[in-house]
């Protein structure tokens, strides 16, 4: 029986997601600096909304206004229609997960107690809070042995996982993430990003994520809000639209190079026309084929090498993409790995499903450019 | 001039230079000697000891442990115990004050050298600095602000601590306190306290000045 986790505010939230609405929100500092300028947008339920932009664009300020770490000067932010300004800040924050750059773990507490911080605040029974913490350590992929350690004994990536676990501890419907992965090395960052996506596919939280890294924004965001210096919204769109139709020069420049190639990752390769007649067994090589390239496969249909009838003794390398799962960028990449110019579609077991030839790829690319 | 007890200023003027040992000007110069000698001696001793502690890490734990213990010893009983060795002399005051100062300065030197960023040290090595040149031209300048901060603490507390020496007859301006207590009279106490605090402020001010002259980059960074 799943317990009903109660967020700090309002009636029981049941871990249910909430919609966050910015309604003409402005943040002006006493010295006249405008950090956020008349921002209106919606972070929809169960989706990841990314705020991205150069430094000074007010993305972090915008995020911090949601849990009232900073109060808006004008306009309001609504959580399922309730203005956050009307909620007592600590109560509000206990119902919103918050992950920051350096994880901000409490150095004097063991990992398990760090994760249980909010449940303790909400007055949970100690044992129940710790059990929940252990459960979450597993969810974020940490060895349970870590629970009894102190933060200084963990690597940066591990600390960041603990930070995520801590934010999830009371099962808040909303998660705010402020450049959570920017202090770890690129390899760890990639795996943390992948796990966040995996986690989100199970949890369906309403997540607002701040980053200065456009690639991270495009990878993680269901919707991406590009902000310009001075805190004005330049464009709010899903990543694919952002890449294909940047609203103006600023967004175009911010997106950087390879916009076209990067856009391919939002087009599924499932629609590629595949040929199944280009595979042969190792010992059944036809001497008189008309095809310029043939793919040698094992008896259980695993790819071995490309071969061309012109030089039958040479084995050439191949590239694969996952049929039905991978996108066009992966398919194109697979094609470029081989002198045949063809991409091999495989299933999850690594068995060949078919082959996308240059012609098939051309058709798909023409379609993509058409958007 | 009235017949009553002298005012503060009258007392001060009359006792500034009586030509005798106990005149305020003499006490002041005694005070300067007994506070400056430990400060300078401690600095001279702490630099090589601190460097040794940085060079040989294992040395730091026992050294700082010993210095912590020495620092915890109250001055008066130490003066008393030293009398049997060095007699009722200024040396009896100077030796313990030197150790107190070292207890503060050695960690300052170690911390200061520890504050030299590794990339700075590495690039100095890469540019071909010999170890001694690197120390003198790169590491010590960078450590200077931390060492000077320690020196400020040492200067002020040494100047104030000297006065306890009055209890063994070697207290510099502190002699004014015992004199005032034996012959209950307020002006000497006030002159003594104000004199010592002023001396400490002057010493502190001079060190702040030295800090600005020696490490101009620290200020420049703060201003930017």
């Amino acid at each position: 029986m799943r317990r009903t986790w109660q967020g700090g505010y309002g009636p029981a939230t049941n871990g249910r997601s909430r919609v966050i609405t910015f309604d003409s929100v402005t943040k002006r500092y006493p010295d006249g600096t405008v950090a956020v300028d008349n921002l209106s947008l919606e972070a929809p339920t169960g989706q990841i909304t990314v705020f991205v932009g150069p430094s000074g664009c007010g993305k972090t300020t915008s995020l911090r206004m949601i849990n009232r770490m900073i109060d808006a000067s004008d306009g309001q932010i609504l959580l399922d229609g309730t203005a956050v300004q009307t909620i007592d800040p600590p109560t509000l924050r206990r119902g919103i997960g918050y992950v920051i750059q350096q994880a901000g773990l409490f150095p004097h507490r063991k990992i398990v107690d760090n994760v249980a911080t909010v449940p303790f605040l909400l007055g949970w029974d100690k044992k129940k809070a710790r059990d929940r913490a252990m459960e979450l350590l597993e969810v974020v992929g940490l060895d349970p042995a870590m629970a009894q350690r102190y933060p200084f004994q963990l690597s940066g990536g591990q600390q960041q996982r603990v930070g995520v676990a801590r934010a999830l501890a009371a099962d808040p419907p909303v998660l705010l993430m402020d450049e959570p992965f920017s202090a770890v090395d690129p390899i760890v960052r990639t795996s943390l990003q992948d796990e966040l996506l995996k986690l989100q596919s199970e949890l369906n939280k309403t997540i607002v994520f701040v980053t200065h890294d456009i690639d991270e924004a495009i990878k993680l965001g269901d919707r991406v809000a590009v902000l310009r210096v001075g805190g004005r919204l330049a464009q709010l769109a899903d990543p694919k639209t952002l890449l294909s139709e940047p609203a103006d020069e600023f967004v175009r420049e911010f997106l950087g190079h390879d916009r076209g190639i990067r856009r391919l990752q939002f087009i599924s390769a499932a629609g590629l026309r595949l040929r199944t007649d280009l595979t042969v067994a190792e010992d059944a090589f036809p001497a008189d084929s008309d095809e310029p390239w043939l793919l040698i496969v094992t008896p259980d249909r695993r790819p071995v090498a490309w071969v061309t009838p012109r030089r039958p003794e040479e084995r050439e390398p191949y590239g694969t993409f996952l049929h039905g799962k991978d996108n066009m960028r992966s398919a194109l990449d697979a094609a470029l790995l081989s002198p045949s110019g063809c991409a091999v579609a495989v299933d999850e077991d690594g068995k060949v499903v078919g082959v996308a030839t240059r012609e098939a790829l051309d058709e798909a690319l023409a379609e993509a450019a058409d958007v | 001039m009235s017949d009553g007890p002298p005012t503060l200023w009258e007392w001060f003027a009359r006792n500034w230079d009586t030509g005798r040992v106990g005149s305020i000007s003499n006490l002041l110069s005694d005070h300067l000697v007994m506070s400056l000698v430990p400060i300078v001696a401690a600095l001279v001793l702490s630099l090589p000891l601190g460097l040794a502690c940085v060079r040989f890490r294992w040395l730091y734990q026992p050294t700082s442990g010993l210095m912590n213990i020495l620092y915890a010893l109250p001055s008066l009983p130490i003066f008393m115990l030293l009398i049997s060795v060095t007699g009722l002399s200024q040396t009896t005051v100077i030796i313990p004050l030197t150790f107190y100062a070292m207890a503060v300065l050695i960690p300052s030197v170690v911390d200061g050298l520890g504050a030299v960023p590794d990339h700075v040290r590495q690039s100095a090595v890469a540019m071909g600095f010999t170890p001694v040149r690197r120390l003198v031209q790169v590491e010590l300048p960078i450590a200077t602000p931390v060492v000077l901060a320690g020196l400020r603490v040492v200067a002020v507390s040494s100047i104030s601590l000297v006065s306890v020496g009055a209890l063994i007859g070697q207290g510099g301006l502190g002699m004014l306190f015992t004199r005032a207590y034996q012959n209950p009279f307020l002006p000497p106490v006030i002159v003594g306290i104000v004199g010592i605090v002023l001396l400490a402020l002057v010493a502190d001010g001079l060190l702040v000045l030295a800090q600005r002259l020696l490490t101009p980059w620290v200020r420049a960074r703060r201003a930017s």
Binding site: R93, G104 | I69, L186
Partner: protein, 221 residues
Amino acid sequence: MNWLTDFFGNPENWTGPGGIPMRLLEHLEYSVLALVLAVLIAIPLGLLIGHTGKGGVIVVISANLARALPTLGMLVLFVLLLGTASILPVIIPLVLLSIPPILVNTFEGIRGVDPELRDAAYGMGLRGGQVLGRVLVPVALPLILLGLRLSAIQVVATTTVAAYVGLGGLGRFVIDGFATKEYASVVGGSVLIVLFALVVQLAFTLVQRVSVSPGVSQRIR
């Protein structure tokens, strides 16, 4: 060495109001009294100033100034001003002189906590008092305890000097012995005070080991 056996071997030194046990208790009493009063004033003030960030400059400046104040001069000043009817004139400077180390270190300790940590604590939904009590104090504890230790060292030393203006305690052996040229008493008393100071130092080191989280001192592994 003869002085030591003379002093500690003399049975008269072990009994009565002027005996070692009584003097030791007196020394302990005055030191603890002064330290407790100083803690009651300095810790709340240091926490408040460190937490709110207001008035920090004044704290640092006045603490530096206080370091320059000569202990003997302060003791004589207060005794001359307030008389010797009670021990109050001696206790006041004792307390005043032990406030600065606690105040400064508490303030610096709280103020020095990583701002990210403070941010995370508020972001989790801790209230101001909870942030202070559950996060800032435990993290700043090594510095706060350092301030207490420095202050205790100061108090023990000043209590010794205070024997000169008539306070009891171990300093009496030293001051009286010096005045009457009984060097056994001077040396014996000095050794007792040194031992007392070392025990105090040791006690604070132990308190620090026990009360600071291993996550903060990074004392494991």
